[in-house]
Symmetry: C2
């Protein structure tokens, strides 16, 4: 295993310390590193809290800040955080207007966030993200997996929370954005979980895993590596069948690198996916490109299409100031 | 070779098209994709033009925009752009106040930018970046290589150009920032140039290349993979010996991923390097962390330390709006 680490047991703690050192104007670490919290707190605002296993950086801690999350709870690599972390985060960052949890649909996360929600002594609700159209049910999931679309939900709901929208409205907004968002990914290589020390899966030199999950879970099928155009057509085709968009619909196209795929290839995939979408009569009104929801060093990418209406697009465009996403301020 | 591409010969063109599609508010492509130019032009401003081989994305095209570069000329992967490209870019983006070329010190780039400078029918000057302390002379270099410190030069000089500083002042500023900036990197794996189809170098499963260049050129020595703390101590130690900083000096610490190294590890390296710097009495006043000056999918990272004085730090902090760096606007 080739990684820039000291001891596997200290990896997460040392990385979180580095993250806090590097972003002192935006975040602070909670006691015992239970959560990453935004520094610029705001009274009267619904607190947005997300979290999940580490190894998907910059998700979620990189999205803590003005206009997005109030706190993120990091679990060990590919392991859910505990209800204690979520409760500690909620008590530390709430502004008296309740808490909205944003949860990716994995069994461990669902169980722990639900437990926290039940134990929390303040108004709360949860948005469950399940944007991955690749498979129904999966290694760690009942139902569809939550993947890169989580970023879109966190950004749009984060902007609305910043404007002072109440909890019930934010919950409905999060559900609506999740329903309007679909993703699918492809892996060319595996990743290696540090504590395991060997690749999560084996894959041939000429193979790809179509529909892979963000922990290297199996997707739809293992096939021979295809051209970028063919891959974009299959991913985007599956997404479009799921969303059933009317011609002329404005969408956000988010091409997400899984960690080991250069921007050079990611932008080539933007070009390929853009052609498919325009060919299907869909209008690509916004773009996001980069390695935002990763699987350690896995090579590959996912495509996310989010059919944001005008009001939701304005929330997407609203100012954001986090470690990983910054615009308008 | 596992890459998200169609045809190797079309890789750069399709990637540039995707880049332009994804950033329509910031950049436009020149004719025949000779350069990437910023959309928001400004009369009376010195034009900053950089460029170099592709495969280092987001460098340089990702730094075109307000507060940084006016144009970037992309060569094929790890291959210098041609003087024609630089001349076309200069004529397209100049604002009547001359042109400053920012050139990484590689023989091909030096020759081609020098030829463009001689042929250009307007005031111009060049800043040569050679921040890599790993080796004197190298595979493609006479003298030290220009690596991740190029970003710092482009950002600081870009901010001064945006404020209307004249050509001679910008040239002197660029030289001063280059002199105050030192970098060194380590590779855990090779990269694969698409046109070559096989890894640039072979490296054992327990080895690292200490002092590697951003094209996978050899560094100081091939040694057994060490701990992150030991790697940070060696890289940062070499940098500090080169810069000879007075205790209490404010610096920017830039930990740069080479493309295949997750943010989780990059932030761990921030933590490790921060300890070394603070231990040496240096004050880490600013941070930048991410995969900004890459070598395709190579695993590893570089550390850059830039001893920016108060005036230069203010230019670093100044607003920037590019595809890859955005703050303050």
């Amino acid at each position: 295993m080739k990684k820039l680490i000291n001891d596997v047991d200290d990896l997460l703690a040392e990385s979180l310390d580095g993250f806090a050192l590097a972003n002192p104007d935006i975040v602070r670490l909670g006691p015992e590193r239970q959560f990453v919290a935004r520094k610029a707190r705001k009274q009267g605002k619904v607190a947005l809290i997300s979290g999940g296993g580490s190894g998907h950086e910059p998700l979620h801690a990189g999205f803590v800040g003005t206009g997005m999350l109030d706190a993120a709870c990091p679990g060990q690599v590919f392991t859910s955080p505990t209800p204690d972390q979520m409760l500690a985060a909620a008590h530390a960052v709430h502004g008296g207007a309740g808490v909205l949890f944003i949860v990716k649909n994995y069994s461990g996360d669902m169980m722990n966030f639900q437990m926290a929600a039940e134990m929390l002594d303040m108004d709360n609700a949860s948005v469950i993200v399940n944007d991955d159209v690749a498979v129904e049910n999966s290694t760690y999931t009942t139902g569809r997996r939550g993947v890169a679309g989580t970023l879109v939900v966190e950004k749009v709901v984060g902007a609305a929370a910043e404007r002072g929208e109440p909890l019930a409205r934010l919950k409905a907004l999060g559900d609506a954005v999740n329903n309007a968002t679909a993703s699918m990914g492809v892996a060319l290589t595996s990743c290696t979980v540090p504590a395991a020390g060997s690749p999560t899966f084996q894959i041939g030199v000429d193979e790809m895993e179509m529909g892979v999950g963000i922990h290297g879970e199996p997707g739809r099928r293992r096939v021979r590596l295809a051209s970028a155009d063919d891959i974009a057509a299959e991913l985007t085709g599956a997404i479009l069948r799921d969303l059933s968009l009317k011609p002329g619909t404005d969408v956000l196209l988010f091409v997400n690198g899984f960690g080991g795929t250069p921007l050079l290839e990611q932008y080539l995939m933007v070009n390929a996916a853009h052609k498919v979408l325009e060919g299907a009569g869909v209008n690509v009104a916004r773009h996001l490109t980069g390695s935002y929801v990763t699987s350690l060093e896995m090579a590959g990418c996912s495509i996310t299409v989010s059919a944001l209406d005008a009001a939701h697009m304005a929330l997407w465009d609203a100012p954001v100031h986090t470690a990983a996403l910054r615009w308008g301020m």
